[in-house]
């Protein structure tokens, strides 16, 4: 049971106002969730709070039956919950391989880390090709791939991706979404935050709309895609028919 349960979580930065105002959400295992919502709705804050980078002010986060709210980031990672930040957050002056090794930082067994990296090289041959290059010399899409692979080193049960399409060209976005679909098919639970709401929902099972720090709407991704209000707000009218077709 890789279920993640978020109960009435309140969170914010420093002494600032609450960004999440009592948010509740249940993420069932082996499903892909796409979180959409306007700027400032608290999408990234939610992911950071789950990942242990931000302490919730109140509320509980339970993963696989264990309360993980208030754990440090490394402790959350060790429980199989990984996070890919929106700025990709690579180590610019390290090679691709070193970046992947850092992905296994919380694992003590360095041979196991190398073994995992070799497995990932099979899955993503392009990374093997570039393994000796410095991360800062890669293209945006390749960097995103490294960031995802870096999270995969830990063989997580659940992966959270914050705006993986940010700043990438449509063609590259397509590839990245293909990769994410691949992860879903491997049986990973996926929590995706996406500005590109339509694309995100297309590869997800469940759509969640955040507004003003609470969960305002939750339904199957298809229903969200077809909901007229959502279409008007986040998807743009012209996609209406397209979306309906894609859902078939």
């Amino acid at each position: 049971m890789g279920t993640l349960v978020i109960e009435n979580v309140v969170a914010g930065y420093g002494s600032g106002p609450d960004i999440l105002k009592g948010l509740s959400l249940t993420v069932e295992s082996c499903k892909a969730y796409c979180i959409i919502g306007p700027n400032g709705a608290g999408k990234s804050t939610l992911i950071k709070t789950i990942a242990g980078l931000l302490k919730p002010r109140s509320g509980r986060i339970v993963f696989k039956g264990e309360d993980i709210s208030g754990l440090r980031a490394d402790q959350v990672l060790q429980r199989g919950l990984c996070y890919v930040p929106s700025d990709r957050s690579l180590f610019p002056d390290m090679t691709v391989k070193e970046n992947l090794r850092m992905g296994g930082f919380v694992m003590r067994d360095s041979r196991l880390v190398d073994q995992r990296i070799d497995e990932l090289f099979v899955q993503f041959p392009i990374l093997k090709e570039k393994s000796a290059q410095l991360a800062k010399t890669l293209s945006g899409g390749q960097q995103q791939l490294v960031a995802i692979a870096r999270a995969m080193v830990l063989k997580p049960e659940m992966i959270m991706l914050d705006e993986p399409s940010l700043g990438l060209s449509p063609k590259v976005v397509q590839q990245i979404f293909g990769t994410i679909t691949g992860l879903r098919d491997q049986g990973l639970t996926i929590l995706l935050v996406e500005q590109n709401a339509r694309k995100g929902l297309q590869i997800s099972d469940v759509g969640v709309v955040l507004d003003l720090g609470t969960n305002s709407f939750e339904a199957s991704a298809c229903d969200v895609l077809n909901d007229p209000r959502i279409q008007e707000l986040y998807l743009g009218k012209r996609h209406q028919t397209e979306a309906a077709e894609e859902c078939q």
């Binding site: 420093g14 980031a73 060790q78 957050s89 690579l90 180590f91 850092m102 930082f105 919380v106």
Partner: protein, 291 residues
């Protein structure tokens, strides 16, 4: 020609020591974005420690590295925990650290002056007065030893950063603090450790300079001036940069010393600083202007 070679050798011979002095400050800035203006004061503290070990128990100042490094390491950890650890998220953190560490330097200076007065000190092991002679050239033994040990320490630091798990975590934190957190590095712990290591380097520098320079409590002002120039010239936070800058400026200062007189040598450093600010504010190895 021989003369120029001789000056070059003398300059390079001091370069290693300068590199050791600036390496700790660079490490501390790189990992924590703390501009440690108390660094030279900690070096002077280390030098006094070496001085009293030498005077009271005749501990060779080179051997005293084994004491000054751990001592300053512990001081560094305590100082970081006490003053900085809980403030690392302050948006004005770097500016704040400049003033706090500067004030700390003054406090150390005052305390040292109160206990040990302003008398000029230095340790005097037998090799302090001897020179290596080969052909037409000479090199003071003390400077050779100090530079060799400095280089050994810097290489060890480099190996540690490069090939150990904790060293990797330190490097990762230097390159991208956020990303380090994302992959599970406990950056608070790493920062504390790095501050300790940075000050351990200051402690070692203190032991080594105790027999190549004279020192007194207020001496740290001149040294911090020099170290600052090396760190900025190298591009704040780049270890390689400060290493190159150290050898470059040590040699330049040796030439200025020879042609214009010893009292002009420090000016070399400050002029280099302003030239670099004028033409390349990000320093030789820096990436961008620090915000």
């Amino acid at each position: 020609m021989n003369q120029i070679l001789q000056i070059l050798m003398l300059g390079l011979c001091l370069g290693g020591v300068y590199a050791l002095m600036s390496s700790g400050m660079t490490l501390i800035f790189g990992v924590m974005r703390i501009v440690n203006l108390a660094h030279a004061a900690f070096i002077v503290l280390g030098a006094y420690l070496a001085f009293w070990l030498f005077k009271l128990w005749h501990v060779d100042p080179i051997v005293s590295v084994a004491v000054t490094m751990p001592a300053l390491f512990l001081i560094g950890i305590g100082y970081y925990r006490l003053v900085f650890a809980r403030r690392a998220d302050n948006p004005r953190f770097t500016d704040l650290t400049v003033l706090i560490t500067f004030a700390t330097g003054l406090v150390i200076e005052g305390v040292l002056a109160f206990f040990f007065t302003g008398i000029y000190r230095s340790t005097t092991p037998v090799y302090a007065q001897k020179s290596f002679l080969f052909g037409d050239f000479f090199l003071p033994q003390s400077q050779v030893y100090a530079t060799v040990i400095s280089i050994v320490l810097i290489v060890s630091l480099w190996l540690f950063l490069r090939y150990t798990r904790i060293g990797n975590a330190i490097r990762a934190t230097m390159q991208n603090r956020n990303a380090a957190q994302v992959v599970g590095v406990n950056v608070t712990w790493i920062s504390t450790l790095a501050f300790g290591i940075g000050l351990a380097m200051a402690g070692a520098s203190g032991s080594l300079i105790s027999f190549i320079f004279t020192f007194y409590p207020a001496k740290h002002v001149a040294w911090i001036g020099m170290i600052m120039c090396l760190v900025v010239l190298g591009g704040m936070g780049s270890l390689m940069g400060s290493l190159v800058a150290s050898f470059l400026l040590a040699t330049a200062a040796a030439f200025v010393n020879f042609y214009f007189g010893a009292s002009y040598a420090p000016i070399t450093f400050y002029l280099a600083l302003f030239l670099i600010l004028l033409f390349r504010p990000q320093g030789l190895f820096g990436k961008k202007v620090e915000g």
